[in-house]
Amino acid sequence: MPPPADRPALDRAARVRAHIEESILPPLVALVIAAVVGDILIIIFGQSPGDVYRQLLEGTWGNAYGFGQVIYKATTLTFTGLAVALGIRAGLFNIGAESQLASGGFAAALVGLAMPHGTPGGLAVVACVLAAAAGGGVVGAIPGALKARFGASEVIVTIMLNFVVLALLNYIVAAHIHVSETLHTPEINAGALPRLAAVFAVFSGSAANTTFLLALAAAGGVWWFLFRTRPGYELRAVGLQPDAAEYGGVRVGTVWAKTMMLSGMLAGLGGLNYVLGYKHYYEEGFAAGSGFLGIAVALVGRNHPVGVVVAALLFATLSQGGLAVNALVPKQMVDVLTAVVIIAVATAVPEVRRALVAARRSAGIGTPGTGNGEPGTVTPRGASVPGSPFPGARLRRADSSTPDSRR
């Protein structure tokens, strides 16, 4: 069926462009705000912002070692960011990526230890990858199942499981399998992944390893799953409008349970970066907040796999850059800057998007039509759809704000 002539294809191109603008411009504005705050802090410390930023960039993207470290850190963050983003797409807030990450790393280390020396590399790696996914998946599945079965809030359960799981892992390592005088397990016998330096000499000395390629593949896989498969279609529908999904024959509880498990598996895979790619053993506290930072990565990346990879690189750069500028300003300044980025994104993004939409409306382009004809119900400020990073949270309210849902 040919498209009717009165809707030129150009219109669609304009809409795609508008969509890209709305995705990219707001985080950029947030970054500018964060940079200005950073300037102020640097000046307070008596340094020149230009010097500090130059050093920050040189210490990260400016040399092979620094860049390799950025890649290494971004790898874990990509996995935890994808884990959180996938949950949010289904309307779930997974705050347990930290313990899922640790559990995945632990499981991979156990399997790596259990295999005899000389196990074929490919087989060993596959076994460890499966173990990491299973380790994180189990921890993710618990809150998912409790929510699906009893309606327990996944936020509460994942927070609490962080304490339980991390304590349990520490106990097992400390009491049974640590190398004496340390808090880590022995090195794995098989399954170690090559460093990127083995392939690309430029990375020499850094911890960057082939897990990064796995992270990129995972991002691609999550994108394909979300936007090209039936379960992905149903997952997003559950996150946007659980009632509509239910109407469409989707078992919402089952989707929640499966998504939490999948989310935990993604976070668990992040453990490979440290265990298979870097140290080759599990060590207490290796997650070091990467699970929690995954929440920020998902937020800044707008729960889109591509955005998650970019945001992971950004936060990894800040983290590594903190070490690079340590001589000029305290390392904590970068932690503050990281926090400012997150706050700026949370605040500025909805505002900038709203302004963009308004500007486009008054220019007469963009989406025609008006919800149900009553302008007041189309663009209510509070319920602004584009702004909220958490579709689930917004749409639970939707039922009182849509005109037709009088109960």
Partner: protein, 538 residues
């Protein structure tokens, strides 16, 4: 009867971004007059009245109001607080009451009577009771709002405005939630207010109401006021034509509306389209037996309901909302588990199959289509594109290998549905949110009626859509009936039920209290059943 001008709005313009809600609207209302502001959904009626009530400032134009017996005063851009102080108040479609407080407490909210440090609730209740008796708005001030029926809650809303001294009362679609006797009560109250010199502005798109209650009419179309007339000089047809800008066939054509029609004869008969060729096969397609549905609040939201819908038949379920219709529909479609009883649907060979334990998807695959009562909550994922919404509930049939969605088939499905059901704008990649209410509903109808089905549950199929779309949707339902489909039509709109249904059942308190052949059902007969005044003694 009517006196000096109480409200004058001149050349009002109100924009929301690039959306122009009011593009030069003029309204003039005299005191001691009931004025009807009519127009289709989205014509800008509510916006215009919100400007009058001080909720939005206009972008251009002037608002003048006469307070007390004084002259007209320019009040353009005033605030809600100023409007209320001047006696201009609006009763919204969505009530703004605190359910956990009593009627009296709700009324005095914001201007509490005090005795020392504590509230003087007794005095408040006395005041409210006096006002209630004086106006005829009967409601017990000591009851909790959460215990009130919708009609009672509306009375409280009106009382609240009067308690604050309103003499210009704006009501936004007040009858949408009322049963016919409650509507009658409301008219009495409004007439009494009018006779006391008050001014009433009624926003509505129901033409029978306009004719019955108003003295003057302003018609709006696309943000402009396109006509002003005396009610005695107009007929539903002339008003409808002015609203839409062309001739339309009205669902109410020929339905008794309690008024002389143009040719002088009093119409009491219903249009029974005798054209149902395939139909009248007495083969049941949907059978509900002894169905009981529980909710956390009540063990019998639906109470031992039984009925059968045969092929080629429309069974209409009338009733005031909240009498178990939603729960009944959800139990039939599998969205809610029944406490007891069975639901059976005919398969392709015509044999009834018990589907009580099957899930939503299995029932849909078994030939059950469902137009849900709330398209914004259930019927559409508003952020999804039109194409994606056109497969909702059918997504498992649009996969290629494994679970991968077949984008090409989704696109061609969308293209053909958009053409067949005339969805505008014809662009399947638009988010459904961007469509008008009528076109959103067409998406739902295209999806549910464009596929193979034997039974259709149509819940409030024309709620919140414009007159043109109502015409289209009713045609689709008639066509499906002629094709031998079994249709369960659940609607709060009696006009719709009377125009379409072959049999009419009334639900009250979770039970079906009466079932009548369509030809015998009238508003007058059904009314008492809808309020439980008749048919509940069992």
């Amino acid at each position: 009867m009517s006196g000096a001008t109480a409200v004058r709005m001149a050349e009002i313009v109100k924009r929301f971004g690039a959306v122009v809600a009011n593009a030069g609207a003029n309204v003039e209302v005299a005191s001691g007059e009931i004025h009807a502001l009519v127009g289709e959904n989205g014509a800008g009626k509510s916006t215009l009245m919100r400007v009058l009530a001080g909720m939005y400032p206009p972008d251009a134009g002037t608002v003048s109001v006469a307070t007390g017996n004084g002259p007209l005063r320019d009040v353009t851009g005033w605030t809600t607080r100023q409007a209320i102080d001047a006696g201009v108040a609006m009763v919204h479609q969505h009530f703004m009451l605190v359910p956990t407080l009593t009627v009296a407490e709700n009324l005095i909210l914001g201007r509490e009577l005090r005795r020392g440090l504590s509230l003087d609730l007794r005095a408040a209740e006395r005041e409210v009771r006096e006002l209630s008796e004086r106006t005829g708005l009967r409601v017990d001030p000591s009851r909790f709002v959460s215990d009130l029926s919708v009609g009672e809650a509306q009375r409280v809303e009106i009382l609240k405005t009067l308690y604050r001294g309103a003499n210009v009362l704006i009501l936004d679609e007040p009858t949408a939630v009322l049963s016919p006797p409650e509507v009658g009560e409301l008219w009495k109250v409004l007439r009494r207010l009018r006779d006391d010199g008050g001014t009433v502005i009624l926003i509505t798109h129901k033409l029978d109401e306009v004719i019955e209650i108003s003295e003057t009419i302003t018609v709006m179309r696309a943000g402009r006021t396109v006509g002003r007339m005396k009610t005695t000089d107009s007929t539903p047809r002339t008003i409808a034509k002015m609203m839409v800008g062309r001739e339309v066939s009205l669902a109410m054509d020929g339905v008794a509306i309690g008024r002389e029609t143009g040719d002088g004869s009093r119409e009491t008969e219903h249009p029974r389209d005798a054209t149902s060729p395939v139909s009248r096969l007495p083969s049941p397609a949907l059978q509900v037996e002894n169905l009981t549905v529980a909710s956390p609040r009540r063990p019998n939201e639906v109470d031992r309901v039984s009925f059968t819908v045969t092929r080629g038949e429309i069974l209409g379920i009338a009733g005031v909302e909240g009498n178990g219709q939603t729960e009944l529909i959800e139990a039939i479609t599998g969205l809610r588990t029944a406490a007891s009883g069975t639901v059976s649907i005919a398969d392709s060979s015509g044999t009834l199959r018990d589907v009580t334990t099957r899930d939503v998807r299995a029932r849909a695959d078994g030939g059950l289509s469902h137009i849900p009562e709330d398209r914004h909550r259930r019927g559409l994922v508003l952020e999804y594109s039109v194409a994606d919404n056109l497969i909702l509930g059918q997504q498992h049939r649009f996969t290629g290998g494994a679970a991968v969605l077949d984008q090409a088939r989704i696109a061609s499905n969308a293209a053909s549905r958009i053409t067949t059901f005339d969805i505008r704008p014809p662009d399947e990649s638009l988010p459904s949110r961007a469509l008008s209410g009528g076109n959103q509903q067409k998406v739902v109808i295209a999806r549910e009626m464009g596929r193979d089905f034997t039974v259709l549950i149509a819940a409030q199929p024309t709620r919140g859509v414009d007159v043109g779309a109502i015409e289209f949707i009713h045609d689709q339902l008639r066509k499906a009936r002629a094709d031998g489909k079994a249709i369960l039509l659940v609607s709060a709109d009696l006009v719709e039920i009377l125009a379409l249904a072959d049999r009419v059942a009334v639900m009250y308190g979770g039970r079906i209290v009466v079932t009548l052949p369509g030809g015998e059902a009238t508003r007058e007969i059904l009314g008492p059943y809808m309020t439980g005044a008749q048919g509940t003694a069992a």
